[in-house]
Amino acid sequence: MKRRAALVMAVAMLVGCQREQRDLRLDPPVAAALDQVAPTANGIGGAPPDVYVALGGPYESNAYNLGEGKRLYTWFNCKGCHADGGGASGPALMDGWWRYGADPVSLFVSLRDGRPNGMPAYRDKLTTEQIWQLVGYVQTIGMASATTAAPSRNDEMQSRPAENRAPAAADLPTPPSR
């Protein structure tokens, strides 16, 4: 009994040593491969690049990447048009209703290539890695179910439930059918 308890403790302590890995320096070939999304002809939905799957989708489940996405969301003035996710001149990003799809590939294409009714293309302003970080972050602001990772807290007042208080979308009224 004692032995088993000691073993459990030891395992628990070892697990406690595990720290989330931050990938600060994405190798250029990996970055180039991450750009190779294969969207469908109308730019909605499609297949993520093989590396994305091989890496295990690090942009949705890694707190550092989500935190970087949150910083970029302010830095690159997504707030100016989408507010804190609630929408302004740009559509809301947290109401669970997407004009161009909620999957990572659609979001990636929305950011990289822009969308016709006023979403600017960020191809020349952001690196591929940063676009993926934003894609990961945009998914957390309106998420319908809890994830294991959340970005850092807000420095300003919250205008919506915090990203780590999922499900946020469930608190909102059902989006209008458009």
Binding site: R22, R25, R71, D124, L126, T127, E129, D155
Partner: protein
């Protein structure tokens, strides 16, 4: 023998070397730092003497022989003469403590008071802390003569400089030991620090408040120049970026204004007008890049642009994929931005 060798050859030079140089509170180069150094000296001497006296008294008390007349079995027996002597000793110690503490309080008040008393119209410079670099804005009575730079503060010798300190993200602290004491940069709250450099020279400053992974590489230099040289330098900084002198530099300008660089950096006179990173208009005129991480040479500019996360892991500049030609051109262009 070995040990003594070690002490002489390693510790002594270390200890002595720590006192001088471009970043030392014990080698003051301006009135503020001088009064702080004086304060440090006064406190050290007074407290050292007090410590020595206390140690001597403790030693004497421990070593003193018990007198034959002391009846150990009647410790509570009263001896009026003895009591009076004890009382006098305690009174003297209390009085000495009051005098010393009051004295130290007064000199520390006077020394810190003198820090804010500057003579003459100060040069007002705004210093804003970012993770992990400094934005420096030289103000002027006319707004068209504001100049923004980064990671280096130039000041005229003999004229007081008032730094207006602010922070963009987390708390930082500005410390240039040879010229002044520390002052924090706090988000949402403006602080001030006034100092004067008395001699031309280059003084190293550093962030003195832990602010994240690259806190250690968040330094800057304060360059004190004779007033006329400073004025000439400031006029140069007001100008737009140098025009490319050859084809390679021209190609570099295309890269810097067409790629992601332009979203974060400003190069006045080109389309690049981002405000998320240091102003690069005169980047090559500064001594270091990346907040004191590398000396400004064409090679280190190329190394930095090719792999900022390898040079300063975790900093907020991403690796922007460039071809070898683009990298060569953009680093030539950067090195030409004097």
């Amino acid at each position: 023998m070995r040990l003594r060798h070690l002490i002489v050859s390693v510790l002594l030079p270390l200890a002595a070397g720590g006192c001088a140089g471009s970043q030392s509170a014990l080698d003051p180069q301006g009135p503020n730092a001088a009064s702080l150094a004086w304060l440090i000296g006064a406190f050290t001497i007074v407290c050292g003497i007090v410590w020595l006296l206390v140690m001597i008294v403790v030693g004497v008390a421990l070593l003193r022989r018990r007198g034959a007349a002391e009846p150990a079995d009647t410790p509570l027996a009263e001896d009026p003469g003895r009591e009076r002597r004890k009382g006098a000793v305690v009174l003297a110690a209390v009085l000495a403590t009051v005098v010393i503490v009051t004295g130290l309080t007064v000199i520390s008040y006077l020394a810190t008071h003198s820090l804010t008393a500057a003579s003459g119209e100060p040069l007002v410079v705004r210093l804003r802390g970012y993770q992990w670099w400094w934005e420096v804005t030289y103000t002027s009575p006319s707004p068209d003569r504001f100049v923004t730079s980064a990671n280096e503060i130039r000041v005229p010798v003999g004229r007081p400089v008032r730094l207006e300190l602010s922070a963009a993200d987390v708390i930082h602290s500005f410390w240039v030991p040879s010229l002044a004491g520390k002052q924090d940069l706090i988000p949402g709250r403006d602080n001030q620090l006034t100092f004067t450099a008395e001699r031309p020279g280059i003084y190293r400053a550093q962030c003195a408040e832990f602010c994240g992974v690259q806190h250690a590489r968040m330094a800057l230099v304060v360059v004190a120049l004779p007033p006329d040289e400073f004025a000439a330098w400031l006029d140069g900084q007001l100008r737009d970026a140098a025009t490319p002198a050859n084809e390679e530099e021209a190609a570099g300008r295309e890269v810097a204004s067409g790629k992601a660089c332009a979203a974060c950096h400003t190069i006045r006179g080109t389309p690049a007008a981002g405000t998320l990173g240091p102003d690069l208009t005169h980047v090559a005129s500064r001594q270091t890049i990346a907040a004191g991480t590398l000396p400004t040479t064409r090679g280190s500019l190329a190394a930095w642009i090719a792999d900022p996360q390898g040079v300063k892991p975790g900093n907020k500049m991403p690796m922007v994929p460039l071809s070898a030609d683009e990298l060569r051109a953009v680093s030539a262009y950067m090195a030409s931005l004097k």
